[in-house]
């Protein structure tokens, strides 16, 4: 692992995009910045502009109105970018999956790297998901990919 990959993993700047959530997942994301969880010790911090982001957190269902906006925000992000779907809504649609304005789960719109289900997911679950995503693949899986 070179210094480039190492510094990418050690300094993830997070942009938080709510595609129309009930604010529950958003509050749980903000919990991660509090003294109890303190993700800054892993170098993560929230940034205000998508141009600075390395991680795109998407919460809430993707409606027909927000689908275009989610796509636009994804295209504005500097690559490489990690997309994480937080909560049941962007993962599957959750209880809104049969709604008239539901435009499909997030992976139908943009490529998703990690799914963290839950309604809302606990902060521990989000941290565990990110850590699993960043950890090097276990040896048997690495062999299976070859």
């Amino acid at each position: 692992m070179g210094i480039k990959d190492l510094s990418f993993k050690k300094s993830l700047w997070v942009f938080h995009l709510s595609a129309g959530s009930c604010n529950n997942c958003d509050i749980e994301i903000l919990d991660l910045l509090t003294p109890r969880y303190d993700v800054e010790r892993f170098g993560m911090k929230l940034v205000g502009s998508i141009r600075h982001a390395d991680v795109l957190l998407v919460t809430g269902i993707i409606t027909k109105k927000t689908k275009a906006r989610v796509l636009e925000v994804y295209e504005q992000a500097p690559k490489p970018i990690i997309v994480i779907a937080i909560g049941a809504c962007p993962c599957t649609g959750g209880i809104f999956a049969s709604g008239y304005n539901f435009a499909g789960p997030l992976d139908k719109v943009i490529p998703v790297d990690a799914y963290i289900p839950g309604c809302p997911p606990k902060p521990e679950a989000m941290l565990a998901g990110v850590m699993k995503l960043l950890a090097p693949p276990p040896p048997e899986q690495a062999n299976a990919n070859k």
Partner: protein, 309 residues
């Protein structure tokens, strides 16, 4: 010729002040974390941030002036490095500088702020334009008390406009922080530095909550890394200037190196504590604060200096 390039690129310049500035920026984040009962980032965090930004994609906005947009961070870095060189050479006692270098330093310290404005306006983003206009007003506010405090320093050191002579005067007659006018001037200049660095409570030019990072909103990848490096260097150059003007300069020989580190760290600690215990003020509150209160402090400092206190 060779020694100037060495000064600019290696010893007090780019490499040295970049590394020390990165460490100071880590110390700032760590102190912030400890104040909020958190653990804080690892010591190599500024390096990770910088390398990661260098390796990322740089996006050029469609509606904007491309050349100005790319060159603004480069000139910000040049301005920060050359002001660090002009400050650190006399303050560390390496070279004596030239007569009137404190006036040159005043101008050079403004280059990063001006390039923020130019880069933000070149990006064509409306939020960046809001941030740029706030930064412009902030410069208009803090420059006046900054100059007045420097005039008070010049009066106290016997009408010399040479930074090395100011440092030498304090070595002979005691540091200026020990006198009444020195303390009042120190308070005013700390507030000006807080605004120059763009830190809370004067970070309205890049308010994350309201205008999404404002002046640096469109910058990404390696040009954002240049802005980061500029901030690191300014975080070392400005406390070093305060240490030179009020604490009798820095020294790199023997046990004095400990005193130098303590002087710089004391200034950084003050900046960080002010930034952690205050909310962001609005731009007109900041202007009122600087134009009325800080100018008053600076004028009192000048009057006391003329009276010899």
């Amino acid at each position: 010729m060779g020694i100037e390039i060495f000064y600019f690129l290696i010893f007090p310049g780019l490499l040295f002040s970049g590394i020390i500035g990165g460490l100071i920026s880590w110390a700032d984040r760590k102190i912030t974390a400890r104040v909020q009962f958190r653990k804080g980032p690892p010591i190599l965090q500024p390096l990770y941030d910088f390398v990661k930004l260098l390796a990322k994609e740089t996006i050029i906005p469609l509606r904007g002036s491309v050349t100005t947009f790319i060159l603004a961070p480069v000139f910000a870095l040049f301005g920060a490095v050359i002001s660090a060189v002009f400050i650190l050479l006399p303050v560390l006692g390496i070279e004596t500088g030239f007569a009137g270098d404190i006036i040159v330093i005043i101008y050079l310290l403004n280059i990063p702020s001006f390039t923020y404005i130019i880069g933000a306006l070149a990006s064509g983003n409306p939020l960046a334009a809001v941030g740029a206009s706030r930064e412009m007003k902030l410069i208009l506010s803090y420059e006046m008390p900054f100059l007045l405090v420097l005039i008070s320093i010049i009066i106290k050191s016997g009408m010399t406009i040479r930074l090395s002579e100011i440092v030498a005067y304090q070595a002979a007659n005691g540091a200026f922080i020990g006198s009444l006018s020195g303390i009042i001037g120190f308070i005013a200049i700390m507030m000006c530095i807080q605004a120059k660095m763009g830190l809370v409570p004067f970070d309205m030019a890049e308010g994350e909550g309201e205008i999404c990072d404002g002046i640096i909103i469109e910058f990404s990848g390696s040009i954002l890394a240049f802005f980061k490096l500029t901030k690191y260097i300014m975080f070392f150059a400005l406390p070093a200037l305060v240490a030179g003007l009020f604490f009798g300069g820095l020294s790199l020989s023997g046990i004095n190196i400990l005193w130098s580190v303590l002087k710089v760290l004391a200034v950084v600690l003050l900046i960080t504590l002010v930034r952690n215990t205050n909310p962001r003020v609005r731009i007109e509150q900041a202007m009122k604060f600087f134009w009325i209160w800080m100018n008053l402090f600076a004028v009192i400092s000048i009057v006391l200096a003329l009276m010899g206190l």
